[in-house]
């Protein structure tokens, strides 16, 4: 069983997930309502990428993590808990508890490489797929398989 995600405000970072071997998501632009940034950090290597939905590279992500990637780490910790994020990204933190700060600084001090923009398209399509869940109609036909997914009081 995977503990349920924790609620968080979505205004700045509408989408974050631990998937495809990456921390990845979508960060809303602070200046242009039509623009979003598609950002990702790979597990293990921390190779990072950030570009707009129109495929323009993010100016802040040259040589190191930009603010979009830091926002992604922050929201992932809120949603999944620091421990799960650290475990997924394979961030080993020495002498401290995993937290937004320790996870980000450990990754940055490893001088991670810049990834190519190949992931952006799949991250963005996973975001669109996620949005499509809002458009699916509820049903009153019984789904007996949901018996395998009880709620849990445990938190991430």
């Amino acid at each position: 069983m995977v503990p349920p995600a924790r609620p968080r405000k979505l205004a700045k970072v509408p989408f974050v997930e631990l998937a495809d071997g990456r921390l990845q998501g979508v960060v809303s632009s602070g200046s242009d309502i039509e623009r979003v940034y598609v950002s990702s950090v790979a597990a293990g290597t921390y190779a990072f990428a950030c570009s707009t939905n129109n495929n323009r590279p993010c100016g802040g992500a040259r040589g190191g993590f930009c603010n979009h990637i830091l926002a992604l780490v922050r929201e992932a910790v809120l949603q999944y808990g620091a421990e799960r994020v650290a475990r997924y990204l394979r961030v080993e933190i020495v002498d401290a508890e995993p937290s937004e700060q320790t996870i980000a600084s450990t990754m940055m001090s490893a001088r991670p490489p810049q990834a190519d923009s190949a992931a952006a398209a799949s991250v963005f399509s996973r975001f669109l797929r996620h949005l499509a869940y809002l458009e699916l109609a509820p049903t009153t036909l019984p789904v007996p398989e949901m018996q395998w997914f009880p709620p849990s009081r445990a938190v991430a």
Partner: protein
């Protein structure tokens, strides 16, 4: 009619702790399959061949014998095709079906409620076959990789199939289980570095999904309509990252004066993973007026409500209107002991499906750290408080200080336990009833209102983003 000395809500808790004949042997054969799936069937080892032989032996006296014998032989040679994997899943499902039947017979003795006749499987209409084939192919890839061999490439194969299936109501069940299963596997990748593999659980989900890829296999169509009074007992909530279901357990009193029956009514919805907890109710509420009736403590009057032979109402608001006030605990005391239960469809027979409404009082409560146990007539019955959703006012503390409990009798990990739906307890010297599903129809509770608003805001942000980005 139930004989008076067995009815009246007196539970024979002693029977629940007694061993069930044949259960351990059936589960040992299930464990053998589960071990096979941990390592995968790409290059089977001698230990896996032994486990496969144990499975074939276990069903040797059943109609599945020859099909399973062939499948286990091929699988042990690393040459299993899709039909062979389906046969392995079918054998495992049959074993758990027999475990279900034995456990339900025991529940029948303990509650004094007669065990209903079984129902025959009826072939339903065929579904979009291409998607079913795609799903089956993904599940077979999983079985070859094994839980220890899963990686992101294998797991991500489900995403496209699920997206294509979700909009089709006929495929919703399969899509929902695949979606939850794939998300769980993705969170556990790579399998090689897992501390512990939930072997029984994943094999359950795998075999369940695989059987659902057979067109019409698990469909249980509505075959009758019900007219009469519906008395809600409580709400059981289910959720994974991208789906939620609320299932109301209730007693139905037919207008024609027939015996009262146990029934269920459910509503489920796909959801974004950021809508959680009490935020879920607002997605479900508009589609099941019964949730409002539960919160208001009312009965509902049904006219021609469609129902399946399993006792599941296929709810539509036009067949129901709000009735008189009805107290769930009073229903549990007075009507529940005389209600008959519907049978379970052949492929739905599984211990995880056992959820039998029971009423308990006069018990003692033991609390050790995180575990609660009721002592009912001198016999311990564990309480599953983790299954009480945070999306409601019922808490483990309220259960611990309760003197009467309406719950669902379940079986998991080798023993029976009770999942509380509502309890009678004392708050500031006053007797109160606290319901797990009290917020289903709406709430004025501060924490509940806050959680609903947070979820509404999340949905609003996503809709705004969808409006700008999805059209492009």
């Amino acid at each position: 009619m139930v004989p008076a000395e067995q009815g009246g809500g007196v539970m024979r808790a002693d029977l629940l702790a007694d061993p069930v004949a044949g259960l351990d042997e059936a589960l040992a054969a299930v464990d053998a399959v589960d071990r096979v799936l941990v390592a995968g069937l790409l290059r089977p080892q001698p230990a896996q061949a032994e486990d496969l032989a144990a499975l074939a032996d276990a069903v040797a006296g059943s109609p599945l014998a020859s099909v399973v014998a062939e499948a286990t032989e091929k699988a042990a040679a690393g040459a299993a095709g899709e039909d062979h994997f389906v046969a392995l899943a079918a054998a495992r499902t049959a074993l758990l079906g027999s475990a279900h039947d034995a456990l339900m017979a025991r529940v029948g003795e303990a509650t004094g409620r007669p065990v209903a006749e079984t129902i025959a499987a009826e072939p339903a209409e065929a579904q979009a076959v291409n998607l079913l084939v795609a799903a089956r192919s993904w599940l077979c890839d999983l079985a070859r990789a094994g839980w220890r061999g899963i990686d992101h490439d294998v797991v991500s194969g489900a995403a496209q199939v699920v997206s294509a299936m979700l909009p089709d109501p006929a495929l919703r069940r399969l899509a929902t289980v695949l979606d939850g299963f794939a998300a769980e596997l993705a969170a556990s990748c790579p399998g090689a570095s897992l501390d512990r593999v939930p072997a029984r659980r994943w094999a359950d989900l795998w075999s369940r999904a695989l059987l659902l890829t057979l067109p019409g296999a698990a469909a249980v169509p509505a075959t009758e309509t019900l007219t009469g009074r519906l008395l809600p007992l409580g709400v059981d909530l289910h959720e994974h990252a991208t789906a939620a279901q609320a299932q109301v357990h209730a007693v139905f009193e037919p207008a024609d004066g027939g015996a009262p029956r146990l029934v269920r009514a459910a509503v489920s919805a796909p959801k974004p993973d950021t809508v959680v907890g009490a935020g879920i109710w607002q997605l479900l509420r508009p589609h099941l007026s019964l949730l409002t009736a539960v919160s208001e403590g009312r009965s509902m009057d049904l006219v021609d409500m469609p129902a399946t032979p399993e006792g599941d109402l296929v709810w539509s608001d036009e067949h129901a209107r709000p009735g008189e006030p009805a107290d769930a605990l009073a229903t549990a005391r007075v009507v529940l002991p005389t209600a008959t239960a519907a049978p379970t469809a052949p492929l739905d027979r599984h211990p995880a499906r056992i959820a039998v409404p029971v009423f308990l009082e006069g018990y003692e409560v033991q609390r050790d750290d995180d575990t609660l146990t009721f002592t009912v007539a001198g016999h311990p019955l564990p309480v599953d408080t983790d299954r009480v959703p945070v999306a409601g006012p019922l808490t483990p503390d309220a259960v611990a200080t309760s003197r009467a409990c309406l719950g669902l009798l379940r079986w998991d990990a080798g023993s029976f336990h009770v999942q509380p739906l509502a309890v009678e307890t004392t708050v500031r010297k006053k007797a109160v009833t606290v319901h797990a599903g009290a917020w289903a129809g709406g709430t004025t509770d501060k924490a509940g209102v806050k959680a609903e608003k947070a979820a509404a805001d999340a949905v609003a942000v996503l809709r705004e983003r969808a409006g700008r980005l999805l059209r492009k």
